[in-house]
Subunit: 266 residues, 2 copies
Protein backbone atom coordinates (compact mmCIF):
# COMPACT_ATOMS: atom_id res chain seq x y z
CA UNK A 1 0.00 0.00 0.00
CA UNK A 2 1.16 3.52 -0.54
CA UNK A 3 -0.17 7.02 -0.23
CA UNK A 4 -2.11 8.15 -3.26
CA UNK A 5 -1.91 11.65 -4.63
CA UNK A 6 -5.49 12.37 -3.63
CA UNK A 7 -4.80 11.16 -0.11
CA UNK A 8 -1.73 13.32 0.16
CA UNK A 9 -3.76 16.30 -0.96
CA UNK A 10 -6.30 15.60 1.78
CA UNK A 11 -3.53 15.35 4.33
CA UNK A 12 -1.99 18.59 3.12
CA UNK A 13 -5.32 20.34 3.59
CA UNK A 14 -5.12 19.44 7.31
CA UNK A 15 -2.65 22.32 7.53
CA UNK A 16 -5.73 24.54 7.06
CA UNK A 17 -8.61 25.17 9.45
CA UNK A 18 -11.12 24.26 6.77
CA UNK A 19 -9.43 20.93 6.10
CA UNK A 20 -9.30 20.02 9.78
CA UNK A 21 -12.94 20.88 10.24
CA UNK A 22 -14.07 18.91 7.20
CA UNK A 23 -12.00 15.83 7.88
CA UNK A 24 -12.03 15.90 11.70
CA UNK A 25 -8.35 15.22 11.75
CA UNK A 26 -5.12 17.06 12.55
CA UNK A 27 -1.38 16.67 12.11
CA UNK A 28 1.51 16.56 14.53
CA UNK A 29 5.03 16.71 13.20
CA UNK A 30 8.39 15.53 14.45
CA UNK A 31 9.78 13.04 16.93
CA UNK A 32 9.07 15.08 20.03
CA UNK A 33 5.35 15.57 19.39
CA UNK A 34 4.80 11.96 18.32
CA UNK A 35 6.54 10.77 21.48
CA UNK A 36 4.08 12.86 23.47
CA UNK A 37 1.19 11.24 21.61
CA UNK A 38 2.51 7.83 22.68
CA UNK A 39 3.03 9.01 26.24
CA UNK A 40 -0.63 10.07 26.39
CA UNK A 41 -1.79 6.91 24.58
CA UNK A 42 -3.14 8.75 21.59
CA UNK A 43 -2.78 6.62 18.49
CA UNK A 44 -2.23 8.16 15.07
CA UNK A 45 -4.28 6.87 12.15
CA UNK A 46 -1.34 7.24 9.85
CA UNK A 47 2.34 8.10 10.07
CA UNK A 48 4.23 9.46 7.07
CA UNK A 49 7.99 9.55 6.94
CA UNK A 50 10.81 10.30 4.55
CA UNK A 51 13.68 7.88 4.93
CA UNK A 52 16.49 10.38 4.51
CA UNK A 53 15.03 12.95 6.88
CA UNK A 54 14.46 10.56 9.77
CA UNK A 55 16.79 10.43 12.75
CA UNK A 56 17.55 7.25 14.71
CA UNK A 57 15.05 8.32 17.33
CA UNK A 58 12.52 8.77 14.54
CA UNK A 59 13.22 5.26 13.25
CA UNK A 60 12.70 3.76 16.69
CA UNK A 61 9.43 5.60 16.89
CA UNK A 62 8.33 4.19 13.55
CA UNK A 63 9.14 0.67 14.78
CA UNK A 64 7.05 1.34 17.86
CA UNK A 65 4.09 2.48 15.78
CA UNK A 66 4.52 -0.51 13.48
CA UNK A 67 4.28 -2.90 16.43
CA UNK A 68 1.10 -1.10 17.42
CA UNK A 69 -0.26 -1.78 13.90
CA UNK A 70 -0.41 1.89 12.96
CA UNK A 71 -0.47 2.43 9.22
CA UNK A 72 2.93 3.77 8.19
CA UNK A 73 3.86 5.06 4.76
CA UNK A 74 7.13 6.18 3.30
CA UNK A 75 6.99 9.30 1.17
CA UNK A 76 9.61 11.41 -0.58
CA UNK A 77 11.30 14.36 1.12
CA UNK A 78 9.45 16.61 -1.28
CA UNK A 79 6.08 15.12 -0.36
CA UNK A 80 6.93 15.48 3.31
CA UNK A 81 7.53 19.18 2.76
CA UNK A 82 4.02 19.45 1.37
CA UNK A 83 2.42 18.16 4.54
CA UNK A 84 4.78 20.04 6.85
CA UNK A 85 4.14 23.35 8.53
CA UNK A 86 7.76 24.01 9.46
CA UNK A 87 10.61 25.34 7.40
CA UNK A 88 12.76 22.33 8.16
CA UNK A 89 10.50 19.24 8.12
CA UNK A 90 11.42 16.83 10.85
CA UNK A 91 11.29 13.53 9.04
CA UNK A 92 7.87 12.32 10.11
CA UNK A 93 4.29 13.46 10.50
CA UNK A 94 1.39 11.77 12.28
CA UNK A 95 -2.28 12.14 11.38
CA UNK A 96 -4.78 11.98 14.26
CA UNK A 97 -8.55 12.15 14.70
CA UNK A 98 -9.73 15.32 16.40
CA UNK A 99 -10.83 14.45 19.93
CA UNK A 100 -14.42 15.23 20.99
CA UNK A 101 -14.96 18.76 22.23
CA UNK A 102 -18.55 18.92 23.45
CA UNK A 103 -19.07 20.31 26.90
CA UNK A 104 -21.71 17.63 27.51
CA UNK A 105 -19.04 14.97 27.20
CA UNK A 106 -16.91 16.76 29.76
CA UNK A 107 -19.77 17.09 32.23
CA UNK A 108 -19.83 13.42 33.08
CA UNK A 109 -16.10 13.16 33.72
CA UNK A 110 -16.13 14.68 37.21
CA UNK A 111 -13.42 17.19 36.44
CA UNK A 112 -12.31 19.64 39.11
CA UNK A 113 -10.09 22.15 37.34
CA UNK A 114 -10.84 23.87 34.05
CA UNK A 115 -8.99 26.56 32.16
CA UNK A 116 -11.21 28.80 30.04
CA UNK A 117 -9.45 30.71 27.26
CA UNK A 118 -11.53 33.60 25.96
CA UNK A 119 -10.17 35.32 22.85
CA UNK A 120 -6.68 33.87 23.19
CA UNK A 121 -5.92 34.38 19.54
CA UNK A 122 -2.15 33.93 19.61
CA UNK A 123 -1.33 30.27 18.87
CA UNK A 124 1.89 30.43 20.88
CA UNK A 125 0.03 31.64 23.96
CA UNK A 126 -2.74 29.06 23.60
CA UNK A 127 -0.22 26.24 23.20
CA UNK A 128 1.73 27.44 26.22
CA UNK A 129 -1.49 27.54 28.26
CA UNK A 130 -2.22 23.90 27.35
CA UNK A 131 1.26 23.01 28.53
CA UNK A 132 0.89 24.78 31.85
CA UNK A 133 -2.62 23.35 32.26
CA UNK A 134 -1.32 19.80 32.07
CA UNK A 135 1.62 20.70 34.32
CA UNK A 136 -0.61 22.20 37.00
CA UNK A 137 -3.31 19.56 37.02
CA UNK A 138 -5.95 21.35 34.98
CA UNK A 139 -7.93 18.57 33.38
CA UNK A 140 -9.67 20.46 30.60
CA UNK A 141 -9.02 23.53 28.50
CA UNK A 142 -12.08 25.27 27.10
CA UNK A 143 -11.80 27.78 24.26
CA UNK A 144 -14.39 30.43 23.47
CA UNK A 145 -14.69 33.64 21.48
CA UNK A 146 -11.92 34.44 19.02
CA UNK A 147 -9.45 31.92 20.39
CA UNK A 148 -6.95 30.13 18.21
CA UNK A 149 -7.78 26.59 17.21
CA UNK A 150 -6.15 24.06 19.58
CA UNK A 151 -5.24 21.61 16.86
CA UNK A 152 -3.59 23.96 14.41
CA UNK A 153 0.06 23.03 13.79
CA UNK A 154 1.33 26.12 15.65
CA UNK A 155 -0.70 25.44 18.78
CA UNK A 156 0.20 21.75 18.81
CA UNK A 157 3.86 22.73 18.56
CA UNK A 158 3.72 25.48 21.20
CA UNK A 159 1.93 23.04 23.51
CA UNK A 160 4.95 20.72 23.27
CA UNK A 161 2.46 17.94 22.57
CA UNK A 162 0.45 18.50 25.75
CA UNK A 163 -2.72 18.90 23.63
CA UNK A 164 -2.62 15.09 23.61
CA UNK A 165 -2.94 14.97 27.37
CA UNK A 166 -5.62 17.56 28.22
CA UNK A 167 -9.33 17.37 27.41
CA UNK A 168 -10.66 20.14 25.25
CA UNK A 169 -14.03 21.79 24.88
CA UNK A 170 -15.13 24.61 22.62
CA UNK A 171 -18.38 26.56 22.89
CA UNK A 172 -19.79 30.06 23.21
CA UNK A 173 -19.11 32.05 26.38
CA UNK A 174 -22.82 31.82 27.26
CA UNK A 175 -22.81 28.05 27.14
CA UNK A 176 -19.58 27.81 29.12
CA UNK A 177 -20.99 30.07 31.85
CA UNK A 178 -24.21 28.02 32.03
CA UNK A 179 -22.12 24.88 32.21
CA UNK A 180 -20.11 26.23 35.14
CA UNK A 181 -23.24 27.33 37.00
CA UNK A 182 -24.96 23.99 36.42
CA UNK A 183 -21.93 22.09 37.64
CA UNK A 184 -21.38 24.45 40.59
CA UNK A 185 -17.91 25.34 39.49
CA UNK A 186 -16.46 28.61 40.81
CA UNK A 187 -15.36 30.92 38.00
CA UNK A 188 -12.09 32.72 38.78
CA UNK A 189 -11.35 35.58 36.43
CA UNK A 190 -8.47 38.01 36.21
CA UNK A 191 -8.96 41.74 36.31
CA UNK A 192 -6.63 44.66 36.84
CA UNK A 193 -8.85 46.00 39.55
CA UNK A 194 -9.61 42.58 40.97
CA UNK A 195 -10.44 42.68 44.61
CA UNK A 196 -8.55 39.58 45.57
CA UNK A 197 -4.82 38.90 45.72
CA UNK A 198 -3.36 35.52 44.83
CA UNK A 199 -2.86 34.80 48.52
CA UNK A 200 -6.47 35.50 49.31
CA UNK A 201 -7.54 33.39 46.38
CA UNK A 202 -5.56 30.43 47.66
CA UNK A 203 -7.17 30.73 51.05
CA UNK A 204 -10.66 31.16 49.67
CA UNK A 205 -10.69 28.64 46.89
CA UNK A 206 -9.58 25.63 48.93
CA UNK A 207 -10.37 22.51 46.95
CA UNK A 208 -13.56 23.66 45.26
CA UNK A 209 -13.94 22.85 41.58
CA UNK A 210 -12.76 25.90 39.64
CA UNK A 211 -12.79 27.33 36.19
CA UNK A 212 -9.99 29.82 35.67
CA UNK A 213 -10.81 32.33 32.92
CA UNK A 214 -8.09 34.05 30.92
CA UNK A 215 -8.90 36.78 28.43
CA UNK A 216 -7.09 38.62 25.70
CA UNK A 217 -4.19 40.91 26.60
CA UNK A 218 -5.74 43.88 24.85
CA UNK A 219 -9.21 43.71 26.34
CA UNK A 220 -9.15 41.30 29.28
CA UNK A 221 -12.15 39.09 29.82
CA UNK A 222 -15.51 40.12 28.42
CA UNK A 223 -18.07 42.01 30.55
CA UNK A 224 -20.34 38.97 30.34
CA UNK A 225 -17.71 36.74 31.87
CA UNK A 226 -16.75 39.40 34.43
CA UNK A 227 -20.34 39.52 35.65
CA UNK A 228 -20.49 35.73 35.85
CA UNK A 229 -17.22 35.40 37.78
CA UNK A 230 -17.35 34.12 41.34
CA UNK A 231 -14.00 35.73 42.14
CA UNK A 232 -11.95 38.37 40.39
CA UNK A 233 -8.29 38.11 41.19
CA UNK A 234 -5.33 40.33 40.38
CA UNK A 235 -1.65 39.53 40.01
CA UNK A 236 0.24 42.37 41.67
CA UNK A 237 3.06 43.81 39.63
CA UNK A 238 4.88 47.06 39.01
CA UNK A 239 2.85 49.78 37.30
CA UNK A 240 5.49 50.24 34.60
CA UNK A 241 3.95 47.31 32.74
CA UNK A 242 0.39 47.51 31.55
CA UNK A 243 -0.26 43.79 31.60
CA UNK A 244 1.47 40.45 31.68
CA UNK A 245 1.58 38.13 28.70
CA UNK A 246 -1.68 36.14 28.72
CA UNK A 247 0.05 32.77 28.91
CA UNK A 248 2.23 33.99 31.78
CA UNK A 249 -0.74 35.38 33.72
CA UNK A 250 -2.72 32.17 33.19
CA UNK A 251 0.21 30.00 34.20
CA UNK A 252 0.88 31.98 37.39
CA UNK A 253 -2.77 31.60 38.39
CA UNK A 254 -2.88 27.90 37.56
CA UNK A 255 0.24 27.39 39.63
CA UNK A 256 -1.36 29.17 42.60
CA UNK A 257 -4.52 27.08 42.37
CA UNK A 258 -2.44 23.94 41.95
CA UNK A 259 -0.44 24.81 45.07
CA UNK A 260 -3.59 25.31 47.10
CA UNK A 261 -4.62 21.78 46.13
CA UNK A 262 -1.33 20.06 46.66
CA UNK A 263 0.43 21.83 49.50
CA UNK A 264 -0.34 21.15 53.08
CA UNK A 265 -1.18 24.60 54.26
CA UNK A 266 -1.34 25.75 57.80
CA UNK B 1 14.65 67.14 4.25
CA UNK B 2 13.68 63.72 3.16
CA UNK B 3 14.96 60.20 3.46
CA UNK B 4 17.48 59.29 0.79
CA UNK B 5 17.57 55.95 -0.89
CA UNK B 6 20.86 55.08 0.74
CA UNK B 7 19.51 56.02 4.14
CA UNK B 8 16.44 53.87 3.63
CA UNK B 9 18.68 50.98 2.70
CA UNK B 10 20.64 51.41 5.92
CA UNK B 11 17.41 51.49 7.89
CA UNK B 12 16.15 48.37 6.14
CA UNK B 13 19.33 46.54 7.12
CA UNK B 14 18.40 47.14 10.78
CA UNK B 15 15.97 44.28 10.28
CA UNK B 16 19.09 42.07 10.25
CA UNK B 17 21.44 41.23 13.09
CA UNK B 18 24.42 42.34 11.04
CA UNK B 19 22.86 45.71 10.32
CA UNK B 20 22.02 46.31 13.97
CA UNK B 21 25.50 45.39 15.07
CA UNK B 22 27.20 47.60 12.48
CA UNK B 23 25.00 50.64 12.99
CA UNK B 24 24.30 50.25 16.73
CA UNK B 25 20.66 50.98 16.09
CA UNK B 26 17.36 49.09 16.09
CA UNK B 27 13.78 49.55 14.96
CA UNK B 28 10.44 49.48 16.77
CA UNK B 29 7.26 49.49 14.77
CA UNK B 30 3.73 50.58 15.42
CA UNK B 31 1.85 52.88 17.77
CA UNK B 32 1.94 50.56 20.77
CA UNK B 33 5.72 50.10 20.84
CA UNK B 34 6.44 53.77 20.21
CA UNK B 35 4.10 54.72 23.05
CA UNK B 36 6.14 52.44 25.30
CA UNK B 37 9.32 54.19 24.19
CA UNK B 38 7.79 57.52 25.27
CA UNK B 39 6.61 56.04 28.54
CA UNK B 40 10.16 54.96 29.32
CA UNK B 41 11.63 58.24 28.03
CA UNK B 42 13.57 56.63 25.23
CA UNK B 43 13.82 59.02 22.32
CA UNK B 44 13.97 57.79 18.73
CA UNK B 45 16.54 59.29 16.39
CA UNK B 46 14.11 59.15 13.52
CA UNK B 47 10.45 58.28 12.95
CA UNK B 48 9.22 57.22 9.52
CA UNK B 49 5.55 57.18 8.66
CA UNK B 50 3.28 56.66 5.68
CA UNK B 51 0.36 59.06 5.71
CA UNK B 52 -2.28 56.63 4.55
CA UNK B 53 -1.31 53.86 6.91
CA UNK B 54 -1.33 55.98 10.04
CA UNK B 55 -4.21 55.91 12.52
CA UNK B 56 -5.37 58.91 14.53
CA UNK B 57 -3.44 57.59 17.51
CA UNK B 58 -0.40 57.36 15.25
CA UNK B 59 -0.85 60.96 14.12
CA UNK B 60 -1.03 62.17 17.72
CA UNK B 61 2.15 60.29 18.42
CA UNK B 62 3.88 61.95 15.49
CA UNK B 63 2.81 65.37 16.82
CA UNK B 64 4.24 64.43 20.18
CA UNK B 65 7.58 63.44 18.65
CA UNK B 66 7.57 66.62 16.55
CA UNK B 67 7.19 68.75 19.67
CA UNK B 68 10.14 66.84 21.14
CA UNK B 69 12.17 67.81 18.02
CA UNK B 70 12.54 64.23 16.83
CA UNK B 71 13.34 64.01 13.14
CA UNK B 72 10.23 62.79 11.35
CA UNK B 73 10.00 61.79 7.70
CA UNK B 74 7.09 60.82 5.54
CA UNK B 75 7.68 57.89 3.22
CA UNK B 76 5.48 55.94 0.83
CA UNK B 77 3.49 52.89 1.91
CA UNK B 78 5.80 50.83 -0.24
CA UNK B 79 8.91 52.21 1.43
CA UNK B 80 7.35 51.56 4.81
CA UNK B 81 6.89 47.92 3.86
CA UNK B 82 10.62 47.72 3.18
CA UNK B 83 11.55 48.73 6.70
CA UNK B 84 8.79 46.68 8.32
CA UNK B 85 9.10 43.25 9.82
CA UNK B 86 5.37 42.56 9.98
CA UNK B 87 3.00 41.43 7.27
CA UNK B 88 0.72 44.39 7.86
CA UNK B 89 2.91 47.43 8.53
CA UNK B 90 1.47 49.64 11.19
CA UNK B 91 1.93 53.07 9.72
CA UNK B 92 5.06 54.15 11.55
CA UNK B 93 8.52 52.94 12.54
CA UNK B 94 10.98 54.45 14.98
CA UNK B 95 14.76 54.11 14.82
CA UNK B 96 16.64 54.01 18.12
CA UNK B 97 20.24 53.77 19.29
CA UNK B 98 21.10 50.44 20.91
CA UNK B 99 21.47 51.02 24.65
CA UNK B 100 24.79 50.15 26.32
CA UNK B 101 25.11 46.50 27.33
CA UNK B 102 28.38 46.23 29.22
CA UNK B 103 28.24 44.55 32.60
CA UNK B 104 30.67 47.12 33.93
CA UNK B 105 28.09 49.84 33.33
CA UNK B 106 25.52 47.86 35.26
CA UNK B 107 27.85 47.30 38.20
CA UNK B 108 27.71 50.90 39.35
CA UNK B 109 23.93 51.13 39.27
CA UNK B 110 23.30 49.33 42.55
CA UNK B 111 20.80 46.90 41.06
CA UNK B 112 19.20 44.25 43.24
CA UNK B 113 17.41 41.91 40.89
CA UNK B 114 18.79 40.48 37.66
CA UNK B 115 17.37 37.96 35.22
CA UNK B 116 19.98 35.89 33.40
CA UNK B 117 18.81 34.23 30.18
CA UNK B 118 21.14 31.45 29.08
CA UNK B 119 20.43 30.01 25.63
CA UNK B 120 16.92 31.45 25.40
CA UNK B 121 16.88 31.26 21.63
CA UNK B 122 13.17 31.73 21.01
CA UNK B 123 12.50 35.45 20.44
CA UNK B 124 8.94 35.14 21.76
CA UNK B 125 10.19 33.66 25.03
CA UNK B 126 12.94 36.24 25.43
CA UNK B 127 10.53 39.10 24.78
CA UNK B 128 8.03 37.67 27.27
CA UNK B 129 10.79 37.38 29.88
CA UNK B 130 11.66 41.06 29.42
CA UNK B 131 8.00 41.89 29.98
CA UNK B 132 7.73 39.83 33.14
CA UNK B 133 11.08 41.20 34.35
CA UNK B 134 9.81 44.77 34.21
CA UNK B 135 6.50 43.70 35.76
CA UNK B 136 8.17 41.96 38.69
CA UNK B 137 10.78 44.58 39.45
CA UNK B 138 13.80 42.93 37.83
CA UNK B 139 16.03 45.83 36.89
CA UNK B 140 18.30 44.17 34.35
CA UNK B 141 18.10 41.28 31.91
CA UNK B 142 21.39 39.64 30.99
CA UNK B 143 21.69 37.38 27.97
CA UNK B 144 24.40 34.78 27.47
CA UNK B 145 25.10 31.74 25.33
CA UNK B 146 22.87 31.17 22.31
CA UNK B 147 20.17 33.59 23.37
CA UNK B 148 18.13 35.58 20.90
CA UNK B 149 19.12 39.18 20.39
CA UNK B 150 17.04 41.53 22.59
CA UNK B 151 16.66 44.22 19.95
CA UNK B 152 15.54 42.08 17.04
CA UNK B 153 12.07 43.09 15.81
CA UNK B 154 10.49 39.87 17.12
CA UNK B 155 11.86 40.26 20.63
CA UNK B 156 10.94 43.94 20.79
CA UNK B 157 7.39 43.01 19.74
CA UNK B 158 7.04 40.06 22.13
CA UNK B 159 8.34 42.28 24.94
CA UNK B 160 5.40 44.63 24.31
CA UNK B 161 7.94 47.44 24.34
CA UNK B 162 9.31 46.61 27.79
CA UNK B 163 12.83 46.37 26.30
CA UNK B 164 12.71 50.16 26.57
CA UNK B 165 12.26 49.93 30.33
CA UNK B 166 14.76 47.29 31.46
CA UNK B 167 18.54 47.52 31.41
CA UNK B 168 20.32 44.92 29.34
CA UNK B 169 23.70 43.28 29.49
CA UNK B 170 25.25 40.65 27.28
CA UNK B 171 28.39 38.66 28.00
CA UNK B 172 29.75 35.14 28.31
CA UNK B 173 28.48 32.89 31.09
CA UNK B 174 31.93 33.02 32.70
CA UNK B 175 31.91 36.77 32.88
CA UNK B 176 28.37 36.88 34.21
CA UNK B 177 29.23 34.39 36.95
CA UNK B 178 32.33 36.39 37.94
CA UNK B 179 30.22 39.52 37.98
CA UNK B 180 27.67 37.94 40.33
CA UNK B 181 30.40 36.66 42.67
CA UNK B 182 32.17 40.01 42.72
CA UNK B 183 28.94 41.84 43.49
CA UNK B 184 27.85 39.25 46.07
CA UNK B 185 24.67 38.49 44.23
CA UNK B 186 23.02 35.12 44.97
CA UNK B 187 22.51 33.08 41.80
CA UNK B 188 19.18 31.23 41.79
CA UNK B 189 18.93 28.60 39.09
CA UNK B 190 16.16 26.20 38.13
CA UNK B 191 16.64 22.48 38.02
CA UNK B 192 14.26 19.57 37.81
CA UNK B 193 15.88 17.97 40.78
CA UNK B 194 16.38 21.23 42.60
CA UNK B 195 16.50 20.81 46.33
CA UNK B 196 14.42 23.85 47.16
CA UNK B 197 10.74 24.53 46.63
CA UNK B 198 9.44 28.00 45.76
CA UNK B 199 8.24 28.40 49.32
CA UNK B 200 11.61 27.60 50.75
CA UNK B 201 13.22 29.95 48.26
CA UNK B 202 10.99 32.79 49.38
CA UNK B 203 11.90 32.21 52.98
CA UNK B 204 15.61 31.87 52.28
CA UNK B 205 16.16 34.61 49.79
CA UNK B 206 14.65 37.44 51.79
CA UNK B 207 15.79 40.71 50.30
CA UNK B 208 19.27 39.69 49.18
CA UNK B 209 20.34 40.82 45.72
CA UNK B 210 19.61 37.96 43.35
CA UNK B 211 20.32 36.83 39.83
CA UNK B 212 17.70 34.40 38.57
CA UNK B 213 19.07 32.13 35.84
CA UNK B 214 16.78 30.61 33.21
CA UNK B 215 18.09 28.07 30.71
CA UNK B 216 16.85 26.49 27.53
CA UNK B 217 13.86 24.17 27.67
CA UNK B 218 15.74 21.35 26.01
CA UNK B 219 18.84 21.36 28.16
CA UNK B 220 18.19 23.51 31.21
CA UNK B 221 21.02 25.64 32.52
CA UNK B 222 24.60 24.71 31.71
CA UNK B 223 26.70 22.62 34.13
CA UNK B 224 28.96 25.65 34.61
CA UNK B 225 26.07 27.76 35.78
CA UNK B 226 24.65 24.93 37.88
CA UNK B 227 27.91 24.67 39.76
CA UNK B 228 28.00 28.41 40.30
CA UNK B 229 24.43 28.61 41.57
CA UNK B 230 23.85 29.59 45.20
CA UNK B 231 20.42 27.94 45.20
CA UNK B 232 18.77 25.47 42.85
CA UNK B 233 15.02 25.69 42.95
CA UNK B 234 12.29 23.57 41.40
CA UNK B 235 8.75 24.43 40.40
CA UNK B 236 6.60 21.49 41.42
CA UNK B 237 4.24 20.24 38.76
CA UNK B 238 2.59 17.06 37.53
CA UNK B 239 4.96 14.49 36.03
CA UNK B 240 2.89 14.28 32.83
CA UNK B 241 4.74 17.33 31.57
CA UNK B 242 8.46 17.21 31.08
CA UNK B 243 9.06 20.90 31.56
CA UNK B 244 7.33 24.25 31.57
CA UNK B 245 7.79 26.79 28.83
CA UNK B 246 10.98 28.76 29.64
CA UNK B 247 9.21 32.12 29.77
CA UNK B 248 6.53 30.68 32.05
CA UNK B 249 9.07 29.11 34.41
CA UNK B 250 11.08 32.33 34.55
CA UNK B 251 7.99 34.43 35.14
CA UNK B 252 6.73 32.22 37.96
CA UNK B 253 10.10 32.47 39.68
CA UNK B 254 10.35 36.22 39.20
CA UNK B 255 6.88 36.58 40.65
CA UNK B 256 7.88 34.55 43.72
CA UNK B 257 10.99 36.61 44.28
CA UNK B 258 9.00 39.81 43.74
CA UNK B 259 6.44 38.68 46.33
CA UNK B 260 9.13 37.96 48.89
CA UNK B 261 10.30 41.56 48.42
CA UNK B 262 6.96 43.26 48.45
CA UNK B 263 4.67 41.26 50.70
CA UNK B 264 4.69 41.64 54.43
CA UNK B 265 5.39 38.10 55.44
CA UNK B 266 4.80 36.60 58.82
Amino acid sequence: MSVTRAELKDIQSLLTKKGRREQHRFLAEGVRLLEEAIRHRVRPELVLYAVHGTSDRGKELIDLFARDKVRIEEISAKQLEQVSDTETPQGLVGMFRLPPHDLTELSTAGLRRYLLCENISDPGNLGTLFRSALAFGFEAVLTAGQSAEPFSPKVVRASAGTVFGVRHGVDTIDSVISYAKRQQIAIVATGRTGAMTLRELRKTIGKRPVMLAIGSEADGISPLLQRAATYIVRIDHEPEVESLNAAVAGSILMKEIYSSWTEDKK
